[in-house]
């Protein structure tokens, strides 16, 4: 290829590169097909409309809609959009503390709900990985079988958790009991009211197997994901936002 053609090609490539960075094609807005109306180009989703209709029908004794209900419900939804438009235009979301709180709460709810939906679809492998990483969460507490001798102290029989022992003899004494060796005795109280507690048997705490703890693992995984979602969003938002604190 001759040099002029190469230079012409260079010009073309340069122009193309400049154009690439100088203009962009606007982001395409995904068309919402499932809309019952449009307000200022924004859709009112059919789902919102159906939910509102269902609520109206539930309020009726007959449980059915009357003539004109559909039109009225759509009118109310359109009114709501117009009011929200105006509220945003007036900047109420920036000035009214109540609206700001509700917005913040709604945003947290949204993040939590989305994270929970994702967590519910978690695979077996994901749940197992979470169980392995967070084993300490699924540890069963130690249990004790004790005998009380002396004045009548109401004490359930069988193996008890430390918390159950606490309810009968108080937290300090219960903690001391958990520190006893099997067969060892300790005296609690003084004089006529003193009684002795003997540790008969101890079952040490152990981690439940995945299969045994599956329901607990799923619940913990759900909670963990929703908490992480809010935390991750806020961390990312802080990184992307110029936040300046005037406090020391």
């Amino acid at each position: 290829m001759s040099r002029p053609w190469l230079l012409a090609g260079g010009m073309l490539a340069g122009a193309a590169l400049a154009v690439f960075y100088m203009v962009r094609v606007p982001d395409a807005v995904a068309p919402t097909e499932d809309a019952v109306a449009w307000v200022n180009g924004r859709p009112i989703a059919r789902e919102s409309y159906e939910n509102a209709l269902a609520a109206v029908a539930n309020d009726r004794k007959t449980g059915t809609l009357l003539d004109g209900d559909r039109e009225r419900v759509l009118d109310r939804l359109i009114d709501q959009e117009l009011l929200i438009d105006r509220a945003i235009e007036l900047g109420l979301h920036e000035r009214d503390p109540q609206i700001r709180n509700q917005l913040a709460t709604a945003m947290i709810d949204f993040l939590v709900r989305r994270a929970e939906d994702e967590a519910r679809a978690a695979t077996e492998a994901e749940l197992r990985a979470f169980y392995d990483a967070e084993r300490f969460r699924f540890e069963r507490s130690a249990q004790y079988r004790i005998a009380v001798e002396g004045p009548a102290v109401p004490m359930p029989t069988g193996f008890l958790l430390e918390k159950e022992i606490e309810q009968s003899i108080g937290p300090t004494a219960a903690r001391k009991v958990t520190e006893l060796e099997v067969g060892q005795v300790m005296i609690i109280g003084e004089g006529d009211r003193a009684y002795q507690v003997r540790l008969l048997e101890r079952r040490n705490g152990e981690i439940a197997s995945f299969e045994e703890a599956r329901d607990v693992v799923e619940a913990a995984y759900l909670r963990h994901r929703s908490e992480s979602a809010v935390r991750e969003f806020l961390e990312l938002a802080r990184q992307r936002t110029d936040v300046v604190s005037e406090l020391d």
Partner: protein, 391 residues
């Protein structure tokens, strides 16, 4: 050479607003309601603070600049009229609306005795290039463009004549835009100053017109979104490039160094100024000047430059229309009127300059004119480019 130095000094001393070819603009939207209208107005704080009356009132108050001081000014200077007289503004209805930094957006109600027939703006009368763009939403939407030279416009609601009137106001805006845009005019002047025949001028102006019409339409209709800073900087670069070409830099002794200097600014604009479009512009310009060296007649490639940079100038023109956020139906009409205005303004400039150039040519001063305009263009282009890319 002395003329060139003089031109350079004059160019650098010119108090030209090189930051961007941005007019002083304010906006309003009037929604007609029973018994009156709701006015929504957008003005720049910078222009408000330059008003002596507002600045004095703020000083007398002793506190920071206050919206309450500005509001009476806006209500008094921007008025809707009926046949019976001006509509009465209600100060108590004033609300300050949220808006981007640097702007004030306010809304108030006016009471009218009858149907509004005229809109008047006496905003910022001391700024001769101030334009007030307004849309009145009545039985149908009516767009008006007001300026110190045409501060009042009739509101015509019927279809007959209304469309033409709307186009006429955008046509005037287009003419004012090109005539007050030093960068577009400088580029145009540099394009035609070396032309020897009217046919050459016609080809160059047509190339420029085709280029800017295409991108003006594409940007105004939302087909593409321009990167404003890159566009403004490239417009400055276009002046520099054509000036260097006019000065025959690619053949002149030491001219290679000047071209290399220009390319170095482009590369710096890309690397330091954060304008990656300038990587492309540097490649384009390097190849263009290399090609010019080989071409027997450089003028043969000029229409390409006119057309290609016309694309970029068109993106610059679109800013005025984009700022208005017109409804799509209005946009097509506004686009047509505005583009027509730009063309008419452009033709008026050519019609004025071409005979002058011919006259100078008749006195054998054409070489000197080309030298002076080239050096001045190169200085202005560089100055504007540096400010727009790094400022």
């Amino acid at each position: 050479m002395s003329a060139a130095v003089l031109a350079l000094i004059v160019a650098l001393l010119l108090p030209t607003p090189v930051e961007a070819h941005q007019k002083s603009v304010s906006y309003s939207k009037w929604t007609l309601v029973d018994g009156g209208a709701i006015a929504e107005v957008r003005v720049r704080w910078l222009e408000l603070t330059s008003l002596p009356s507002v600045a004095e009132a703020a000083e007398a108050e002793g506190g920071p600049f206050d919206f309450a001081l500005v509001f009476p000014y806006l209500q008094e200077r921007l008025t809707l009229h009926t046949d019976a007289g001006p509509c009465e503004a209600s100060p108590a209805s004033a609300v300050r609306l949220p808006v981007e930094q640097g702007w004030l957006r306010a809304e108030w109600r006016v009471r009218c005795d009858g149907s509004p027939t005229r809109l008047q703006s006496r905003l910022f009368t001391s700024l001769t290039n101030h334009v007030h763009l307004s849309t009145v939403l009545g039985p149908k939407a009516v767009d008006v463009v007001l300026s110190p030279t045409a501060p009042s416009a009739s509101l015509v609601w019927s279809d007959r004549g209304g469309g033409a009137r709307g186009i006429a106001s955008y046509l005037r805006l287009g003419v004012e835009h090109i005539l007050s845009g030093w960068d577009h005019l400088a580029f145009l002047l540099l394009l035609i100053v070396v032309a020897r025949r009217l046919r050459e001028v016609a080809v160059l102006v047509t190339g420029f017109t085709v280029g800017h019409s295409v991108t003006l339409a594409a940007a105004a209709l939302g087909v593409v979104v321009p990167h404003v800073r890159a566009v403004e900087a490239t417009i400055a670069a276009s002046i520099l490039l054509v000036a260097l070409e006019n000065a025959n830099m690619e053949r002149m002794r030491g001219g290679g160094l000047v071209i290399a200097g220009a390319l170095a600014i482009f590369v710096a604009a890309a690397a330091i100024g954060g304008l990656p479009a300038f990587w492309g512009l540097a490649l384009f310009s390097g190849c263009y000047f290399a090609l010019l060296r080989r071409a027997s007649r450089g003028g043969r490639l000029r229409w390409v430059i006119a057309c290609l940079f016309g694309f970029v100038h068109g993106l610059g023109f679109s800013g005025v229309l984009l700022e208005q956020e017109l409804p799509r139906a209005e946009l097509v009409r506004a686009l047509f009127g505005f583009n027509l205005g730009v063309e008419l303004g452009q033709l008026a400039v050519v019609a004025l300059i071409w005979p002058l150039l011919q006259w100078l040519r008749g006195r054998n001063l054409d070489t000197r004119v080309v030298d002076v305009t080239s050096w001045a263009g190169a200085a202005l282009g560089t100055f504007a480019l540096v400010l727009r890319a790094f400022g």
